[in-house]
């Protein structure tokens, strides 16, 4: 007689597992990577590969040291690596990129328990640590297509410094200075549409984030079109404000999160010392997520109120 396997129901599972979701995110990041390589040359690809390889290596190493199961198979370290690289200027020294990966994977992600347990977005936090530590290198921008003239790193202002007069078309396709993955709004939107279509993210989250920035900058007399196209807003709104681990899991909470991100981004951009506010906004809202989660937003059907009646 056969030995029968006994387990509680259900006995059927969807094919979409964690690695399939992460794979979708990696695919969605490809257009922006290609845009980065087109505008900033092979250096963009090198920085991205360094970040990815070092993130995966750190993840493998730290899990080994902590005697935990190997988790590089869920591809989340690859996603972190790509997102970190996308938040770095193309001319960044390689060792700094490796240091950023160290912070992202070991300090922010694994020390708090690994995938799903980190309360702050690893890529964003690593970027902020690098920005606070190496202000010059983190704000030395390469000119788009500068690599073709044989000049690798040319100090140049980002459009955020002179936002009002920037050309919106250049901002849209990404023909501006900036971090590797943030310049092309078009490429990022393609990724966002793919993720929405695959139901990996809820498009309402980036729409709320971007919409809030648009409305508030417009009310404050700024150029709202350039505000939503420039800097890290598209990258942050589509790929980081939709991160599962560090944002609320319920739609209502997600929208509060996105609204908060939009308001803080606008405040920093318009009134703050930093030209860019997206990273700080997302990190601040990451910290507020446990509080947002406490707001009861899901009402079980048929729940009786205390005291009796339904």
């Amino acid at each position: 007689m056969n030995k029968l396997l006994v387990s509680p129901s259900p006995h059927f599972f969807t094919r979409t597992d964690t690695s399939a979701i992460m794979f979708d995110v990696i695919l969605a990041l490809f257009p922006a990577l290609i845009a980065g390589i087109v505008f900033f040359g092979p250096r963009a690809l090198i920085v991205t590969l360094v970040c990815v390889v070092s993130c995966v290596a750190f993840e493998w190493l730290v899990r080994k040291i902590m005697k935990r199961s190997n988790t590089i198979g869920d591809y989340s370290a690859i996603v972190t690596g790509v997102l970190l690289a996308f938040n770095l200027p193309p001319a960044i020294p390689i060792w700094m990129a490796v240091l950023g990966s160290f912070f992202a994977i070991i300090i922010v992600k694994q020390l708090f328990g690994g995938i799903g347990q980190n309360f702050a977005n690893p890529a964003i936090t690593a970027r902020i640590i690098l920005l606070a530590s190496f202000g010059t290198q983190m704000t030395t921008w390469s000119k788009p297509f500068g690599y073709q003239g044989g000049v690798d790193a040319v100090a140049s202002a980002t459009p955020l410094a002179d936002l009002y007069w920037a050309n919106p078309w250049d901002l849209f396709i990404g023909n501006v200075s900036g971090c590797i993955g943030e310049v092309s709004a078009l490429a990022l939107l393609l990724g966002g549409i793919y993720l929405s279509f695959r139901k990996v993210i809820n498009p309402l989250v980036p729409l709320t984030f971007i919409g809030t920035v648009f409305v508030f900058t417009w009310m404050l007399g700024e150029n709202p079109v350039n505000h939503i196209l420039a800097g890290g807003l598209m990258l942050g709104a589509i790929f980081m404000a939709t991160d599962y681990a560090t944002t609320p899991p319920v739609l209502g909470g997600k929208l509060i999160f996105a609204l908060g991100c939009g308001i803080i981004t606008t405040l920093i951009r318009v009134f703050g010392n930093y030209p860019e506010g997206v990273s700080f906004a997302i990190l601040l809202m990451n910290l507020l997520t446990p509080l947002i989660d406490r707001i009861p937003m899901v009402n079980p059907l048929g729940k009786r109120k205390k005291g009796g009646a339904a």
Binding site: L4, S9, F13, T18, Y244, P248, L251, L301, K303, A310
Partner: protein
Amino acid sequence: MAIVKNKKFLNGAHVPHHKNTNDSQTLPLPVPERVTILMLQHMGAVCEPLVKKGDSVFVGQKIGESSEKMSVPVHASCSGTVQDIISYTTPQGISCPAVVIDTDKLQTMDPSIHKPEIQSKEEFIAALRESGLVGLGGAGFPTFMKLNYPHPEKIQQLVINAAECEPYITADYRECLESTENIVRGIQAIRKYFPVEVFIGVESNKPKAIEVLDQATRTLDRVTVVELKSLYPQGAEKSIVYATTGKVIPQGSLPADCGVLVMNISSVGFIGKYLEDGIPLINKRLTVDGDCVTHPANLLVPIGTSIQDVLDYCQVPQDYVKVLMGGPMMGIAVSDTALPVVKNNNALTVFSEKGAKLPPETACIRCGRCISICPIHLMPAKLEKAYDNRNTELLQELCVDLCINCGCCSYICPARRHLAQKNQLAKSLLKQRQVKERKTNE
């Protein structure tokens, strides 16, 4: 009356259908050498055997009865000799006696079986009890108890469940096509004593059943065939009541408290048939299917036939590793194929090693899919943590008792967390604590 497409549905999962047996007409299973008839095939009290070793029994003879209110009698499905009365443990872990009958293959009917004579509502309910009918959808709730509701005047609607949302199973679908007349007769019989409005809910992936039922009920007043979205679990009681009547059943209430009776289509069909010939519930239509079944089929199986006999008849290859009583979403995995078929079985789903493989559990990534898929709007990820911390207060606050165990959360979880399973554990933990508290208060 008419086909209605409803727009309001409770959430659920798009599970694969695998309805391979849609066109498999029901074949009678040849009478097996031996049947083992459990004295507990329903929700309620265990029956006492009415026969002893060596007795000869007829088909349809009552062989088990209980004096408890919440119970239904059990009947012999085959004629023959009582070989023994043994003690048996059901897959749910409950011990009960079982009557083992060595069959004579003659299938001699009990001479006392006759068309029931019914003049009043009380006689109708009593006849249903005598028929041994339990809810054939799965839970096995005695049908007469549903009709014995203390405030019958409150009951205004009858929801007939023909959703059949579980993958593989087509037993109810075949009932719709093969026993249409019985279903109509059943509806008329119930309406004679309960003047209810009738809704028949069928998932949209069964257009033929919808058409046949609509044709058959067109002349009846206040009967509506409701086309449901093909979204598991539309056949869950709370889902189908919501989809057809728009009513939400509150915590701790029966559908009848909201004025709704819910019955499976096969139960209604059985009532129609029983009122004609008086033969109690002794056979059950089973869908036999699964990833390693080469000859999937619908079979009319005498209750008490061992699962092994059914699998042998279907020539199921020997390499299976998992056998489910029911479908893959809510079915019970059995540990032994010697287990007999019971009244509320509607399928045997058999899986090879590949299909039975359980994906390894990984860390929750907080994606929120379990929350957005839950038909009852629960938060399985939060419930899991509350259960792990044995936080009964939070479990109560989050209403784990409302969970219908449909399994959507476990199905959709990309980290393969055992969410539905934890909910079940949490429910029993909550019950234990409540009983304990009540005792200390007293």
